[in-house]
Amino acid sequence: MSENFIELDVRPILRSGGEPFDAILGAVKKLEPGQGLRLFATFKPIPLFRVLGSMGFDHEATELSGGDWQVEFTPAAPAAGGVSAEQTVAAPAGSKQHDAWPAPAREMDNRNLDPPEPMVRILAAIEEMPKGEVLAALLCREPVFLLPELAKRGHSWQGAFEPDGKTYRMLIRIGTVQPGAA
């Protein structure tokens, strides 16, 4: 569609252990109407698809040699005026990936519990929550055994360490993916 791209290579930031999100958002804000972003990363940046999707960008990801990825984000609606980063454009109907997530209906702080208690409490809480609601939880580690369980039960999630590197914050949206799909 558009050959007009700004290029951003976040691989050096990722390799030094940094968090490239600010650089990416900065680049998106600088885009002219109709312009796209060509991003280079060391992995397939799936969460970004959702984030930029909620800003009205489509994506096309290509794996490069050495396990790196190139992703082209193009404005989904090149209508008059184009799309700017400040503008949040509704995603195309039926594209669940592009939905903005609702505010969390429940918050949980599981930072002072030893494994597997955080997992037990989260799974117990989400069983009681209706479809589409979001649970926010704070943890002190990446809950690696929880994630397959969430996938099996058809919940979607996002998670990341806060900038201090000590608190892991995760959002779980109830029952929005096909169970076992992830």
Binding site: I46, L48, R50, P102, L113, C140, F145, L147, K152, Q158
Partner: protein
């Protein structure tokens, strides 16, 4: 409803699950531990036989390959994916690796029995051992290497594992050269020279680089996880890694050069040992911090017993230093190797095995129904006071055995080995009870939707 800003996420993980064959590795390893302790009880190998006698080599390889290496491989198949938050490269290849290593080990042990005159001459026994063990460990390296390669840039604990894996590659290579030597195949002067003088490199790369260094990296994360201590990744931890890696590079690199050029190995061992010593001091600093800064006031049996094993590592390092400084290290090398193998490595292995088995069993059995129905807690699968007695008996017997080796009282050593054997049978029974959920209240044992875990492997419904 107000839209929630997405998190600044850079990674969504595919998630890790349970390693299917880890328990098969643990069970096989445990059989070799019990076999080795029975052999010591009946006076086979050092101290009844000389250090380099075939009987001693038989015993030593039951311990280092059969018990410790299989235990470590099984633990890494479960632990590396958790460490790097990526699924394992293959969940079926570890079984093939286990079969290859086991076949290679049996061929190697048969080769030693042949040298001892117990078995008649078997042609190509050592060649088969070299090929089977080499390919088994190569497969282990391939599976773990591919898993780690997907997770670059690696975090600090994963870097410890990488150094450990490089060390096992070196250990197995040295070992294969020795096996070819035993079998009469290595007639090239270079290989013959390595066979004649390279044994210290093989032993130190195996016990130090592969088993101790990997255990240090793994215990770092496990102690933090199970005691709720802050993860350490500051300068001391980084320098523990750098100095440990440096000591292995010196040992293996300079060691090979010294061996084949005929230069004395002593300066190489001294410099590598110094780097290793500094690495251990920094590690001790980190470990003390982990125990002091823990959030949980009461710590579980596995972390208490890991502490005892860590104390044995400290004592072993100190004794090695003293013996080296006073020039008696060769005289006491058997006792020192025993202390490292049983006080430190086996002690830590048994302590963590107790927790990991309970955790994996709990996750396998109750994971699918968590939140849907009341389930037992992980701690309901174990009875710590009962298991604790076996652990104390084990460590007490190890200490007496070490003392006997230093002062030269082989009969009391055998009695101590018998107590070690009984204690380990006790711990094995505890592990089987955990796997069979025997200590869980009958009414809560198997709620609807769960099934009894298998004893020797893990089945996880996807």
């Amino acid at each position: 409803m107000k839209a929630h800003p997405p998190l600044p996420v850079s990674i969504i993980m595919a998630g890790t699950t349970l390693s299917r064959w880890t328990l098969s590795y643990f069970a096989t390893a445990f059989v070799f531990l019990l076999l080795a302790e029975a052999l010591m009880t009946f006076g086979v190998g050092y101290p009844a036989h000389p250090l380099r006698a075939p009987q001693t080599l038989f015993l030593v390889h039951c311990i280092t390959l059969g018990w410790l290496s299989l235990l470590m491989c099984g633990a890494l198949f479960q632990f590396v994916p958790v460490l790097v938050a990526k699924p394992i490269y293959s969940n079926s290849l570890p079984l093939l690796a286990l079969v290859l290593i086991l076949a290679g080990l049996l061929a190697l042990l048969a080769g030693f029995l042949q040298l001892a005159g117990v078995l008649p001459f078997i042609r190509h026994c050592f060649l088969a051992a070299a090929v089977l063990l080499g390919s088994g460990f190569l497969l282990v390296l391939w599976i773990l290497g591919c898993t780690l390669a997907r997770a670059r840039p690696l975090n600090l604990p994963a870097c410890f594992v990488v150094v450990g894996l490089c060390s096992v590659a070196a250990t197995v290579t040295f070992g294969s050269i020795f096996m070819l030597g035993f079998g009469g195949y290595a007639n090239m002067p270079l290989l013959a020279e390595l066979h004649a003088r390279g044994v210290p490199l093989h032993v130190i790369a195996g016990l130090g680089g592969w088993l101790t260094f990997t255990a240090m990296g793994v215990s770092h994360r496990l102690l933090a996880m199970f005691m709720l201590s802050p993860e350490l990744d500051g300068a001391p931890t980084r320098w523990t890694l750098y100095l440990g890696a440096l000591s292995m590079v010196i040992l293996i690199g300079a060691g090979i050069v010294a061996t084949i050029t005929g230069i004395s190995l002593t300066p190489v061992l001294a410099v590598a040992g110094l780097a290793a010593l500094f690495s251990l001091v920094l590690y001790a600093h980190d470990v003390l911090r982990l125990y002091r800064k823990r959030v949980r006031p009461v710590i579980e049996l596995n972390s208490r017993m890991a502490g005892v094993a860590l104390g044995h590592l400290a004592v072993a390092a100190l004794l090695i230093l003293i013996c080296a400084a006073s020039g008696v290290i060769l005289q006491y090398s058997g006792a020192l190797v025993f202390l490292v193998c049983f006080g430190w490595l086996s002690g830590l292995g048994l302590a963590k095995l107790y927790k990991i088995t309970a955790f994996m069993t709990w996750l396998e059995c109750y994971g699918p129904v968590l939140g849907k129905t009341p389930t037992p807690r992980v701690q309901d699968l174990v009875v710590e006071p009962r298991a604790g007695k076996w652990f104390w008996a084990y460590f007490g017997a190890v200490d007496i055995a070490v003392l006997c080796l230093f002062i030269g009282t082989p009969l009391i050593f055998r009695a101590a080995a018998a107590v070690m054997l009984i204690a380990c049978v006790g711990i094995a029974v505890e592990l089987v009870r955990i796997r069979r959920l025997v200590d869980v209240e009958a009414a809560r044992r198997l709620p609807a939707g769960t099934r009894q875990p298998r004893l020797l492997f893990t089945l996880v419904a996807s």
